[in-house]
Subunit: 459 residues, 2 copies
C-alpha cells in the first residue's frame, strides 16, 4: 500500500458559491447561551454553526457544516495519501456481531441498544471493530492481499451519562475510524507508523500543533498506542511534554509511505522526547527534562491510534494463509479522529474576545465581503466586482449585503471568524480603495481593488 501519487480529492468549496448573507441561513445569537460552559460551545452557538436538538445531539447549520466538511476533506486527503481505502459502514449494527467479540455484554450503558420491529437486538455503533473484521474475513484469504487499511467517516453514538461541552463531547458524533490488517506484528507496526505520520500531517493541515503522547495500551501492552493532543488553555486535561516538539518539522507531502525505515525514523524522532497525558505522567522522568524545556499545559485529545493485535481477529476468525499455507489471525490496529470534536477543538485553540479565528484550511468561506452602504450604486457594483474576481480566482466569499449598521456587520464578521474581511464603502471608493483586514492579527490596510487578490494570495 504505497503513497498515492499526487493524491487526492480536491478540497471542497474552493468554488464560486455567490453566497449572500441576505439569503443565507446563519442564525447568529447576540447573547451568550447560558448552558454553554466552554468557549467553543458558546461560539459555535453564537455564530450559528450548530443547534442543539436533544441533550448532546446537534444539527449542523450551513456555516458549521462547511467547516465540518473541510475538516473531513483534510482528514480524507491524508488517509488516502497514506494508502487507506474509504468505505462506509451502517450506523445500526446487530448485537450478534458484538457477541462474537464478547463486547456486547462488556460494553456498558454508553452503548445505545435498540430492538427492531421483529424484536431483534441491534445497536447504534459506538465504533466498528467487529463490523470491519466481519467485512474483512468475508473476502480476504491470503497474506498476499495484505496490508489493508479500511477507513470510514461516519456518525457514531455514545450515550454519555451527562453530555456537555457542545460538539466536544456529544452523544451523536462524527468519527473517522480506520482499521489496519497485517500478517504479522512487524507489518502492523508499519501500518501503525503510516497512521502516525498521516496524523501528524492531518493536524498540521488543519492548522493545529498536535503532539503525540504515549497512551495506555491496557492488557495488550507494548508501546503502540498514542493520543494526539493539541495545546489549548481551555483544554480538558493536563499534559506534560518537552518543548522541543513545538519546533519539530511536519513530514512533507513527498513522504514515502512504503518506506519502512523512513517512517520508523519519523516515529522514533516524534517519540524521542518526554510527552505524557495525566494518566501516563511520570514525574520522575519529566524531572529529567531540562528545566527550561519542561512544558506543563492543558491539552485536548484529537486523535488516538492503537495496535491491538489479534484481539478481534482471533475470536472472530479473521485469518489469512501465510506463505506456508497455515492460517493465522491477522494483526489489527484502529485509528480514530473525531471531526465534530475537532471543530470545537480548533475553536478552543483559535479564538479571541470577538469570536472565532478559523485557520485558512478549514474556514467556511475565505473572505467576508462587507458592504458598508447597501443600495449605493457604486458600492454595490464594487462589491459585485470583488466577489466575482475573488470567486473566479477560486476563493469563496460570504457577501454581507444585509441592510445593517457597519458596527453590526463588523461584529458578525469577527464572530464568524473568516480569515479575511474586505470592507467596501463610498469613502474609500472615492479614493479608489477598499479595506482589507486579516482576522487573525487584526491588521488592516487600504488598497486598490486590483491589488486585493494578490495580497490575499500572498499569505
Amino acid at each position: 500500500m504505497p503513497a498515492r501519487r499526487g493524491s487526492s480529492r480536491p478540497i471542497l468549496f474552493q468554488d464560486s458559491d455567490d453566497m449572500r448573507l441576505s439569503r443565507y441561513f446563519m442564525p447568529t445569537l447576540r447573547e451568550t447561551p447560558k448552558e454553554a460552559e466552554i468557549v467553543s460551545h458558546r461560539l459555535m452557538l453564537r455564530a450559528g454553526l450548530v443547534r442543539q436538538e436533544s441533550a448532546g445531539i446537534y444539527a449542523w447549520l450551513p456555516l458549521g457544516l462547511r467547516v465540518l466538511e473541510r475538516v473531513c476533506a483534510v482528514i480524507r486527503r491524508e488517509q488516502d495519501r497514506s494508502g487507506a481505502i474509504e468505505i462506509l459502514m451502517p450506523t445500526v449494527q446487530s448485537a450478534e456481531l458484538w457477541r462474537e467479540s464478547g463486547r456486547y455484554d462488556a460494553y456498558g450503558k454508553e452503548m445505545l441498544r435498540l430492538k427492531d420491529r421483529h424484536e431483534r437486538e441491534m445497536l447504534y455503533g459506538p465504533t466498528a471493530e467487529e463490523m470491519v473484521t466481519e467485512i474483512f474475513r468475508a473476502s480476504v484469504r491470503s497474506y498476499k492481499d495484505l496490508p489493508k487499511n479500511l477507513y470510514q467517516i461516519s456518525w457514531k453514538f455514545r450515550d454519555e451519562v451527562r453530555p456537555r461541552f457542545g460538539t466536544m463531547r456529544s452523544r451523536e458524533f462524527l468519527m473517522k475510524d480506520a482499521y489496519s490488517f497485517d500478517f504479522d506484528q512487524a507489518g502492523a507496526r508499519h501500518a501503525y507508523n503510516r497512521m502516525f505520520v498521516a496524523y501528524l500531517r492531518t493536524f498540521a493541515g488543519l492548522g493545529l500543533k498536535a503532539i503525540p503522547m504515549r497512551a495506555d495500551t491496557g492488557p495488550i501492552g507494548g508501546d503502540l498506542s498514542h493520543e494526539f493532543i493539541i495545546l489549548a488553555k481551555t483544554g480538558e486535561s493536563e499534559v506534560f511534554c518537552d518543548k522541543a516538539y513545538l519546533d519539530f518539522d511536519i513530514p512533507p507531502e513527498t513522504v514515502d509511505f512504503d518506506d519502512v525505515a523512513a517512517l520508523q525514523g519519523i516515529v522514533d524522532a516524534w517519540t524521542s522526547h518526554y510527552a505524557a497525558t495525566e494518566e501516563m505522567h511520570e514525574p520522575e522522568a519529566f524531572a529529567e527534562v531540562a528545566e527550561d524545556s519542561r512544558l506543563a499545559a492543558r491539552g485536548i485529545e484529537v486523535g488516538h491510534i492503537f495496535y491491538f493485535g489479534t484481539k478481534y481477529s482471533e475470536p472472530m476468525g479473521a485469518k489469512v494463509a501465510g506463505p506456508d499455507g497455515i492460517e493465522r489471525p491477522v494483526h489489527m490496529g484502529s485509528y480514530g479522529i473525531g471531526p465534530s470534536r475537532l471543530v470545537a477543538a480548533i475553536i478552543e485553540a483559535s479564538h479571541d474576545e470577538a469570536g472565532i479565528i478559523w485557520p485558512d484550511s478549514v474556514a467556511p468561506f475565505d473572505v467576508a465581503l462587507i458592504n458598508l452602504k447597501v443600495g449605493d450604486a457604486g458600492t454595490d457594483a464594487a462589491c459585485a466586482q470583488i466577489q466575482s474576481d475573488l470567486e473566479t480566482a477560486g476563493l469563496s466569499v460570504l457577501y454581507d449585503d444585509r441592510d445593517e449598521r457597519p458596527g453590526a456587520k463588523f461584529a458578525t464578521a469577527d464572530l464568524i471568524g473568516l480569515p479575511w474581511q474586505v470592507i467596501v464603502g463610498p469613502k474609500g471608493l472615492a479614493e479608489g480603495k477598499v479595506e482589507l483586514k486579516r482576522r487573525a492579527g487584526g491588521e488592516r490596510e487600504s488598497l486598490a481593488i486590483v491589488d486585493l487578490l494578490a495580497r490575499i494570495r500572498r499569505v
Copy 2:
C-alpha cells in the same frame, strides 16, 4: 433565492488516485448470491459495491461508496444551483418533537423507536419535517427572511417489515431531503417549481430519463405532488405516459431559478401530457392519448416532491410576520431523493448480461486499465505511462495490475462497468497500439497511446 452563478462544488474523484487493483479492496463474487431477487441487487453484490450486514442494512465498499458519492455530488450541485442551502440534522431525534406534530403516535412500526439510558423516548429519523421546522421557527421571524430552502443528505431508517431488493429498499438508507419555507401559497408554488426543475436536471445529470408523474396529495389536495419515475424493464410498478416526454429537452444550466414565469413555463410543459403511476392511473384519460404515443411500462420512483402547506408549521408554531405585522404559519414543501436507492435504480436502467454499465457521470472510475502481461517490462511501463497521462488529464483510473488471466480481467472490467477499458498487451505494443473499449456499446478500436486521451475526451 436566486440561481447561484457558476455553481458549484467540484465533482469528487476527478483526481489522480493511483489506484491499483492489487492494493484495492473490491471483493467481487463469481457466483450469483441466492438471496438477491433483482438484477441491481445481484450486480451490486457481485461487483463488490456493498455487503449486507443485517437484513436491509448495508456496508458500502470502496467501489460502491465512490458511486454513491458521485450521485450525491450531482444532487448537491443541482440543489445548490436552485438556491437550497445544505445543513445536516442528527439521525437520533426526540419523541417530544414528533408529538408536537402528532406523528409520533400516528407513525407505525416503520419508525425505529428507542430509549436512551435515562429512559427518554427517542427515534431514528425516517424523515425530518418536524426537526427542520423546529430549526426554522427558532430563528426566522419575518417574511423578509423568506424564501428559504434547507436540505440535507443523511442516513434515515425505516423499519420495513420485509426488507429486500438490496439498497433499492433498505432499512438504513441515504436520503436527500429538502424543505422549503414560504410566506404564502404563491411563494410555495415557486419553491415547488424550483425543485421540480432542479430534479429534472439532477436525473438528467445522472444519465437517467426521469418523468414527473402526478402523485397523491392526500388530505392536502391540489396538484403539487409529483413522483419522478425512471423507466426500467425491471421496475417495481407499472406506469403510463405519453411518449412525448421521452424527447423533451432538459432545462439548461443557465435557467434562472428566480424567474417565476420561466419556471412555471417549464413545469407546465412537463405536466402537459399524460403521465401517471398505477395508483393515479385513469384509463379513460390515457385512452385519449394518441395510440402510437401511449407508453405502458415498468418504472422506479427515484424522487418525490410535495407541497403540504401549513401541516407542520401550524401545530408547531412556525410563524413569520408579514408586511402587516401579523404572524402567519409558513407554507412548506418537502423534496426527497434517495441516493442509495438511485445507485440500484441506475443499475436497473443500465446493465447487460456481463454486468453494470455506469453512466459517465457516476462511474466510480472513468477508465479500467487492463495489463495483459503483468511483469513484462514494456507492458508495465506502457501501463504506468497511460495511467499517468490519463490522471494528469483529470480522469480517474482503476489499474488492473493483478497477476490474473486476461479472461478474468475482462470479466471483472465488464462486471464493474467502468465507461472505458484500455487494454494493454505486448502484441499490440509491438505495433505501437493499445485497445480501447467503450463498455456501453462494446465497440473496440486499436490506437496509439498518444491518441487515447483525445479519443476518450471526444465523448
